[in-house]
């Protein structure tokens, strides 16, 4: 200590090479930090922009009159004494009920999840646990290739090929309906669920399988009761990712669902989804009008949906992990 008082501490001298390395290291760290913050800033700016455009709905008198919250979420009189939920924002008396859009979104998303979740998870389980190596090496890239197909192409396929087939198969009245759109969506999200689930399943330590087999469990029991639960958080993440894509996917629903604002739970009826409404109407809407703000408000709602869903999924995942590891991790 005394020495330190009389003789100031001198940083150890570095060789020029070491100093250069240190500088380079710092520069790289700085660059990465900058990139990360740019990403976060972009996200925040997008949220601010979308929310700002939607805000006019609550601040401007004209917009408040045309699209108040009660008009968006409660039944309005379409004809005298005939209340209904309609989405017709360019009518003489604009009708802006969100309910048919919610129903449509839920319908198409539900169909796609019902098809894609089992298909994706069982496909992944097969690829990770049962498929011979050769087959697995073929299966993975083929399914991942499906993920690379632009959604407009999938939508076109649903519109041109699947619509007539599904109509005949289920004897629906209309070729464009929630079922076709949901199946088209399923094509888009199966690869997402498959890939992420497969990664989660292969990441389960080998020792788990060996222990299970050594105790006398069959390969199927091992896969179903040991590997699958151990990979549950990853698989749940896969499903959440798939759900997020299904709810926000626009092009397929826009092309294949028929987009009629009907409220019915029949899969043979048309459905109009939130995202497809934005896509269909943003092109020609009068900028700054209540209709314009309304479309941004739909965007805010979609954002909230996925946000809340992700939050719920991450808390649930934490609980599962805790249960599986007995609170050790």
């Amino acid at each position: 200590m005394e020495q330190g008082l009389t003789q100031p501490v001198v940083a150890p001298t570095l060789s020029p090479a070491a100093r250069r390395r240190q500088l380079k290291e710092k520069a790289i760290a700085g660059f990465i930090t900058l990139m990360a913050f740019t990403g976060i800033a972009a996200l925040i700016l997008i949220i601010i922009f979308v929310a700002k455009e939607a805000l006019a709905l609550f601040t401007e008198a004209e917009a408040r009159h045309e699209a108040s919250l009660s008009k968006m979420f409660l039944a309005q009189d379409v004809a005298p004494g005939r209340p209904a939920f309609r989405w017709q924002p360019v009518s003489k008396v604009p009708k802006v009920s969100m309910i048919p859009l919610f129903v449509g979104t839920l319908k198409t998303t539900a169909v796609s999840m019902l098809v894609a979740v089992p298909l994706g998870i069982f496909g992944a389980l097969f690829a990770a646990e049962f498929a011979p190596r050769r087959l697995r090496e073929l299966l993975k890239p083929v399914i991942e290739l499906l993920a690379g197909i632009p959604s407009v192409v999938l939508g076109f396929f649903a519109l041109m090929v699947m619509s007539t087939f599904v109509k005949d198969l289920f004897a629906f009245d209309r070729p464009l309906n929630a079922m076709v759109a949901g199946l088209g969506l399923a094509l888009a999200i199966v690869p997402v669920i498959f890939t992420v689930s497969e990664d989660a399943l292969t990441a389960v330590p080998r020792s788990y399988r060996e222990a299970s087999l050594a105790l006398g469990a069959t390969p199927w029991e091992t896969a179903w009761k040991v590997v699958l639960p151990a990979a549950a958080p990853g698989i749940l993440a896969a499903c959440v990712l798939g759900f997020g894509r299904a709810i926000g996917e626009t092009m397929i629903v826009l092309m294949a669902s028929g987009n009629a604002d009907v409220i019915s739970w029949s899969l043979g009826d048309s459905a109009r989804s939130l995202s497809a409404t934005i896509a269909a109407e943003m092109g020609e809407v009068v900028v700054g009008s209540p209709h314009y703000s309304l479309l941004f408000f739909i965007g805010v709602q979609l954002f909230l949906f996925t946000f809340v869903l992700n939050l719920m999924a991450s808390t649930w995942t934490k609980r599962v992990v805790k249960k599986l590891t007995g609170g050790a991790a």
Binding site: V78, A84, R86, Q88, P89, V90, S91, K92, K95, P100, L159, M160, S163, T164, D173, R174, P175, L176, L254, M255, G258, N259, A260, D261, V262, D269, S270, R272, A279, A280, E281, M282, G283, E284, V285, V286, V287, G288, S289
Partner: protein, 273 residues
């Protein structure tokens, strides 16, 4: 590599004054009109290479919004400018804009080739689209439910049909909306009991309905649309902030000239003159 980047930068610097050159006309708007606009631009630039005409689509509303924001000189629109849009123009530029009809288009109703009907009255079409008529039997066709196709509610054609066929009433909730005329034509060609509408289309598998008026069935032919005899013809417009001047005026003059109007016919619409 260095020389490559160097030449790239030099090239960009050279291109800068070009893009800021006064001989530029920007045209933006209606998707219905974008092919027409591009043909006009092509032909026009052949005779006056000094002027660059840039044509982009996006929709009538997009073009008119660009006009309000000052990002385009000419807006193409398949509908008339709305009051809200006029007010914005007045607030910003102290003008209500200049409207120039440049072509005519007939809105046609399509049915499947297998449908025995050839003509319907405007009242019958209204009944179908409002939802009062739900079976082909009610308008003299076979006993089958009508599958109704419409355009998305921001389309200029949607508004035109709403104003001129439905008398401003709302479309039935069961009317399915599709993005673009091509999608409507395709859907009608595949579904036997369906009906749809759009510009005059030349496609396999569909039939264009005539409009029944009195004892006469009026076909959406060039002659009937030009003379206004066909009841569902509409104008396609150019909108500008102020009276056209300079290069923009030259371009519009060309579009309205006999050669320009011949292009209109070639593209599939109808001349205004």
């Amino acid at each position: 590599m260095k020389t490559f980047i160097g030449s790239l930068i030099a090239g960009l610097l050279l291109a800068l004054p070009l893009s800021a050159h006064a001989g530029n006309v920007t045209v933006k708007g209606s998707d219905t009109m974008v092919i027409l606009g591009q043909r006009w631009a092509e032909e026009f630039m052949k005779t006056t290479p000094a002027t660059k005409v840039q044509v982009t689509g996006g929709g009538s509303g997009v073009g008119l919004a660009a006009l309000q924001n000052g990002t385009t000189e000419i807006a193409m629109s398949s509908r008339e400018i709305k009051d809200a849009e006029k007010q914005k123009l007045r607030a910003r530029y102290n003008t209500t804009g200049v409207q120039i009809p440049v072509a005519k288009d007939g809105v046609t109703f399509y049915v499947n080739e297998g449908n025995p009907l050839t003509a319907l009255t405007v009242e019958q079409l209204r009944g179908i689209y409002v939802g009062d008529v739900t079976n082909w039997k009610q308008v003299g066709g076979p006993d089958a439910p009508i599958i109704v196709y419409s355009r998305e509610n921001s389309s200029g054609t949607y508004v035109f049909v709403k104003d001129h066929v439905l008398d401003g009433e709302d479309y039935a909730a069961s009317a399915q909306t599709l993005p673009g005329t091509a999608a409507v034509v395709n859907a009608v060609s595949k579904e036997k009991n369906s009906i749809g509408y759009g510009g005059s289309a030349y496609a396999k598998g569909i039939k264009e309905l005539k409009i029944k008026k009195g004892n006469e069935d009026i076909a959406p032919s060039a002659e009937n649309i030009k003379t206004g005899k066909y009841p569902l013809s509409r104008d396609l417009y150019f909108y500008l902030r102020n009276k056209p001047a300079g290069e923009a005026k030259a371009f519009i003059d060309y579009a309205l000239s006999p050669e320009g109007q011949a292009v209109v016919t070639k593209v599939g619409y109808f001349p205004v003159k």
